[in-house]
Point group: C2
């Protein structure tokens, strides 16, 4: 029923996460009202993602160079490394502007169910980096889930007897959230992690 | 903080309706995991919208040809014309598969507040089309709003004494909606339009 160009762009939008048929149609039709210049930029921006974005050789963050801007920053402390699941997670911590160390992107979590083992994610590069840079502390900031816990336990085990402190980010009740909406497991962790006031 | 390619594509996504900063970031990062082929198709699909999509010379529907597939369809009754605001509205009626007439896209509604007058939308082409094709009935399917009503009244007035029946789509309570969620104006229209059972 739609012209082919519209059908195609609807299909492209539907490939994006969280975009269903109706939203894809709405987005496709909105493009019709874009100027030719804007459509050209949009198309070029996608090609630029295709051709320029790569992963940092050191930490796995996204970058347009061999090494990302964070790894390249000599002002940052390379004795502390945040270990995150995805490159996007880095931006969350950078936004709070309270951290001056480095990052390491695993690119996934260990998940026996999905057939993802330790060698499928960037753990080996983390280990060699810890040795090379004499890293003093790694802070595991993986999501509190079975896969996250499995990955953290694995990293802890493999770094046993190496001279590096391993911590993990706190699990607890988010600020501003009513306790009645918190799941039992989070409550349990929050209780376990209680602090003197 | 993000590489330029990512910044650019986030900005492009933010230009789309209903897409805010956070969603744009999520969509941009999802592209990184697309295959090169998929990114190429996405980029080309946008270029194709830019270069191929135009408006049907007769009805204003979107098309890749001079005349859209609906206007070109000799099986369809050209004595009845649905008058809609946007090209996208056509797909809604086509999906219910209950209509075999033609369409006319106004491309907007009369709105003195926004400075949109009768000459800014495709009313003249509608009038000449009614004459040329001896159209017997036009069905106004514009949204029930001040602009919609103004536009309908204008069309009614300008077609006075022309031999064409003018109807409008019913205003009322949507199926499955509890009356308590219906606004007073809709209720008033629904009462006015009551039918014997």
């Amino acid at each position: 029923m739609y012209p082919n160009s519209i059908k195609n762009i609807i299909d492209c939008f539907k490939d994006l996460p969280g975009i269903g048929e109706k939203t894809a149609e709405r987005l496709a039709f909105s493009l019709i009202n874009f100027s030719k210049e804007k459509l050209t930029s949009f198309s070029e921006a996608i090609i630029s993602v295709r051709d320029k974005i790569t992963n940092c050789e050191i930490c796995g963050n996204i970058t347009e160079d061999k090494v990302c801007s964070i790894c390249n920053d000599k002002e940052r402390n390379n004795k502390i490394v945040f270990v995150v699941e995805k490159a996007k997670d880095i931006s969350l911590f950078e936004k709070i502007n309270a951290y001056n160390g480095k990052y390491h992107v695993l690119g996934g979590l260990i998940s026996p169910l999905e057939g993802i083992g330790p060698d499928d994610i960037n753990i080996n590069s983390l280990i060699s980096r810890i040795k090379r840079d004499n890293v003093e502390e790694i802070i595991l900031t993986l999501k509190p889930s079975i896969e996250g816990e499995t990955t953290m336990q694995y990293i802890k085990k493999i770094l046993e007897n190496k001279n590096v402190k391993i911590t993990k980010i706190a699990t607890g009740i988010p600020i501003g959230t009513d306790i009645e909406y918190i799941d039992p497991m989070t409550l349990e962790f929050a209780l376990e992690g209680r602090k003197d006031i």
